[in-house]
């Protein structure tokens, strides 16, 4: 009786303190259910996290909400192991399986009410934005050092002199424009799928970009530089190709950005828009890489420099690998993916 009274007064105010039988169903033997807004009984999950390699129990979380996401579970795990921030956690159902996504909801996963996850440390992570900004600022600065013939690069009599060939000035403008464009796109245009990448990538990537920039810049700005064989004609055609592909590349980046609402990671099939530069989507899955290749071919033609050709080739190989991967994942994800499209070169590759 007292228990009922307590419950009753909990729900209804009684002016004179008299017990008013509350219009609640009889719940004298009911368990202490937490007060929830949902009408149904809430079954909490228990989550245990094991090390994927050693199978040690690293963490046990009880009272996890069924609609908790993997991202929230990662935050909880981080609290008990502060050295593993969420970005470096790989949570998976199977020790050798694929990583679960942050957006995955606990109750939609094939687990019982006691879920067992396996954890792998991805190593120190660094944000994509940081990596991009660092790897693109390097070439911008380095090229200019060679352009202005800063001391200790060329014989001292050439320090701080300028090249007598106007194509060298043009090349500097194009190269600098290209990397400024990339920096601005990183800051204002791109919407990244992943927040972070392994820390060691920044050393690898910077070595690649900075190293090649120095190698190219050394020869283009060299006092003994030889201008293109076909002179002004060659340079003009090269410049047109370069600018065309720069605009094209930018158009594609804008089109891809517009596919994705801000802050989301949705993936949709890109289609041509009103911008003619995007019509290449009819034939190619990754036209941003196609235009990038075109820009560097233009730059190679403009400077007629073998290191630039080499850089273009290496970049093309890498971009082809990426384009093929992206094309494959498009095909896997979308049943109605346009069959006419090739990964990077229309009809060829």
């Amino acid at each position: 009786m007292d228990a009922l009274a307590l419950e009753a007064t909990g729900n209804k105010r009684v002016a004179n303190g008299a017990v008013v039988p509350a219009p609640l169903p009889v719940q004298a033997q009911s368990k202490r259910k937490p007060a929830k807004k949902t009408k149904k009984a809430v079954v909490f999950f228990e989550v245990e996290i094991l090390d994927a390699k050693t199978k040690d129990k690293l963490c046990f979380l009880d009272k996890v909400e069924p609609n908790a996401t993997i991202g929230e579970i990662k935050s909880m795990f981080h609290k008990s192991h502060p050295q593993w921030y969420p970005a470096r956690q790989s949570i998976r159902l199977d020790p050798k399986g694929k990583s679960l996504k942050d957006e995955d909801v606990l109750q939609h996963l094939p687990v019982g009410t006691t879920a067992t996850f396996y954890f792998r440390d991805l190593g120190a992570q660094i944000s994509w934005v940081t990596v991009f900004l660092t790897e693109y600022t390097g070439p911008l600065v380095i090229y200019l050092l060679f352009y202005f013939r800063v001391p200790f690069i060329y014989p001292p009599k050439y320090d701080f002199t300028t090249s007598k060939h106007w194509v060298v000035h043009l090349a500097c403008m194009c190269h600098s424009f290209h990397y400024v464009k990339r920096l601005l796109e990183t800051l204002f245009v791109h919407r990244f799928s992943h927040g972070t990448m392994p820390l060691r990538n920044i050393f690898k990537n910077c070595t690649y970009y900075w190293g090649f920039a120095a190698w190219m810049a050394y020869y283009i700005n060299h006092p003994l530089y030889t201008p293109p064989i076909y002179g002004e004609q060659q340079i003009r055609i090269a410049l047109i190709i370069f600018l065309f592909c720069q605009i094209g590349n930018f158009s594609i980046h804008i089109a891809l950005r517009n596919l994705r609402p801000p802050g989301s990671k949705t993936r949709k099939i890109p289609y041509p828009t009103k911008n003619p530069f995007t019509w290449i989507f009819l034939l190619v899955s990754c036209p941003n890489y196609t235009y990038e290749l075109g820009s560097w071919l233009g730059f190679t033609l403009m400077t007629q420099c073998l290191p630039v050709a080499f850089f273009t080739l290496v970049g093309f190989i890498q971009m082809t690998v990426w384009a093929k991967g992206k094309h494959r994942s498009y095909l896997k994800e979308f049943r109605d993916y346009p069959p006419l499209r090739s990964p990077i070169l229309p009809f060829i590759l």
């Binding site: 060299h222 030889t226 290191p307």
Partner: protein, 242 residues
């Protein structure tokens, strides 16, 4: 880097884990290839020994075996193909790097720079290579024939401990001896100005090659030591996952 010790161990791991039905043609070809290479390097070993016994000096030894050496060492490029088409379960890149480093030593150093052919360091690495290759190819041959004498296995996983560093010393000394001749002749080099706007200095390239031994040699050496522990003593080594 002279050694090709680590090739077959990945192969062994695969054989232990799952039954690989290799086509009979592939097995027949590989058996023939490994027998032929064992024979080739045995011929080289005998020719070198005979020269030294007859002449009592190493001067002119390289010239006498140059053709055979070039043939068999270059033919080893085929091994990259084996990995590429999958009849040998090793990484294409690892095999490629090893074979290329040998090709580099033979064609771009010893063959093209006459003046260093009578250096002692050349004999040093030639002897090391010969012993290593005879052991390696006979190991593969016996494995393919499913009859591996323990002493071959022992040789393959123990001789490298001494041979590998000695071989590296021989190679480095040879490259070092070649440097003044490269500088003087300006061989394989290209200077500015030219219409490709590129330059290449073989002298500095060789210096970089020599320096690259410093990071690469310990990595390969310790990898082979780990393989040895696994193959001979069955220790389970927890490899660092990438």
């Amino acid at each position: 880097m002279a050694s090709s010790e680590e090739d077959g161990t990945v192969e062994e791991k695969e054989n232990n884990n799952k039954k690989r039905t290799k086509s009979t043609l592939a097995t027949a070809w590989l058996t023939f290839y490994n027998i032929a290479m064992t024979a080739g390097w045995l011929v080289l070993a005998m020719a070198m020994t005979r020269f030294y016994i007859q002449k009592g000096t190493h001067k002119g030894l390289y010239r006498s075996i140059a053709r055979t050496l070039k043939f068999f060492q270059t033919f080893a490029l085929v091994e990259v193909g084996h990995c590429a088409i999958g009849i040998v379960r090793t990484s294409v890149i690892v095999t490629g790097v090893q074979v290329c480093s040998r090709i580099f030593m033979v064609w771009f150093i010893t063959n093209s720079i006459r003046q260093i052919q009578s250096e002692e360091s050349v004999i040093l690495f030639l002897v090391v290579w010969t012993v290593t290759e005879i052991t390696r190819y006979s190991y593969y041959t016996f494995k393919l024939l499913n009859h591996l004498p323990y002493f071959i296995k022992w040789a393959r996983y123990n001789l490298f401990i001494v041979l590998y560093p000695v071989g590296v010393v021989g190679e480095l000394l040879t490259i070092y001896a070649a440097l003044p001749f490269v500088r003087r002749s300006g061989m394989y080099s290209m200077r500015l100005p030219n219409k490709y706007n590129v330059s290449f200095d073989y002298y500095y390239c060789l210096i970089i090659v020599m320096l690259s031994y410093i990071p690469l040699f310990p990595q390969l050496y310790f990898h082979m030591l780990r393989q040895r522990r696994r193959m001979l003593h069955g220790e389970v080594i927890v490899e660092k996952d990438d």
